[in-house]
């Protein structure tokens, strides 16, 4: 990491950095976001990865992902990364399933199976 080369810290270690005003916005969570949270709790609870595994994947995504993706977008990416690494399913199975889901419809509501 080049950032660590100059500061001795990685991007996520941001305590003490200068930054602008704290944003006041808050939002309630969408169903898909709550499901990501639930999948994290349940799959880690079942022993397929640890909170450290989740954080390692989040930190390895880098600063661009932190700026460009929403919180639960990063979480589902990290959960998926850990499940792939843990051999729960293969990248081929994921690819097939993603294509199947995307072929079902064009909104989150319409792609639910059953």
């Amino acid at each position: 990491m080049s950032e660590a080369g100059t500061t001795g810290r990685r991007w996520h270690d941001m305590g003490g950095d200068a930054a602008g005003p704290v944003p006041g916005d808050e939002h309630d969570f969408a169903l898909w976001e709550k499901r990501v949270d639930a999948l994290m709790i349940l799959a880690s609870g079942a022993g397929h990865f640890t909170v450290d595994g989740l954080r390692r994947a989040l930190e390895d995504m880098g600063e661009a992902a932190f700026e460009e993706m929403s919180y639960y977008e990063r979480w589902i990416a990290a959960v998926n990364q850990n499940l792939l690494e843990g051999g729960v399913y293969s990248i081929e199975e994921l690819g097939r399933k993603m294509a199947e889901v995307q072929a079902r419809g064009d909104s989150y509501g319409t792609v639910q199976d059953g």
């Binding site: 808050e26 939002h27 898909w32 589902i76 319409t110």
Partner: protein, 214 residues
């Protein structure tokens, strides 16, 4: 799937304003959530019912749980002693599942104000307060709270006297903090239920103080 198009007003049970309807085009990451969930069900890792129950359990958690916890420390000296010694056990005694995290209660007093942050990510006493607000996870809050806490607190409308000691607590994935705010003056003899209504979410993060009775 049917969608409700009425407009939501006010805040949700979890204390957040409602967000706009989620009827937009399917995003890549939403498709990934569906795919991962279905694969986990097919592989026997989770059931659809478990996912639903986990969401319901999460929705049931709110700052009201934390407020009940704080109000009991104000009214029950034995419980307050337990909370100071082992907040995880105190949480459990209230019937709130502390999960796998260790909970530490930090108590404000006349000369000390505590505030909680997670500089590395977004660790938060979610089992006691529900999910963290967006600003708690922001770069600005994470970066600045450990460097210039008084300036950050002023942005929340909390201007602490010069003489007040400010203690900033940096959470980790395994160890979470909750602030026990000072009991407001003029509440002598109040029952715990009435006191709990004065305890805001922000007062338990430390970006606010308990409400003063009107």
């Amino acid at each position: 799937m049917p969608h409700d198009h009425h407009h939501h007003e006010g805040t949700s049970p979890s204390g957040h304003p409602y967000r706009a309807d989620q009827d937009g085009p399917l995003t890549y990451w939403q498709a990934m959530e569906v795919a991962v969930r279905e694969l986990l069900v097919e592989k026997g890792v989770v059931t659809a019912d478990q996912v639903q129950r986990q969401i319901e359990a999460m929705d049931a958690r709110s700052p009201a749980d934390g407020a009940a916890f704080v109000a009991r420390t104000w009214t029950d000296p034995d419980f307050a002693a337990l909370a100071r010694r082992d907040a995880t056990a105190a949480c459990r005694e209230m019937g709130f599942d502390p999960g796998t995290m260790r909970l530490i209660a930090v108590e404000n007093d006349e000369g000390t104000h505590n505030v909680v942050v997670c500089t590395l990510c977004s660790c938060y006493p979610r089992n006691l307060l529900g999910l963290p607000p967006d600003w708690y996870k922001s770069r600005e809050y994470r970066s600045r709270t450990v460097r210039e806490p008084r300036a950050v607190l002023r942005e929340f409308g909390l201007d602490l006297p010069e003489g007040t000691t400010v203690r900033v607590h940096d959470s980790t994935a395994d160890m979470r903090y909750v602030v026990i705010p000072r009991r407001p003056d003029g509440t002598d003899g109040w029952e715990a239920d009435l006191l709990a209504a004065l305890v805001t979410r922000d007062s338990m993060i430390g970006t606010g103080v308990a409400r003063v009775p009107s």
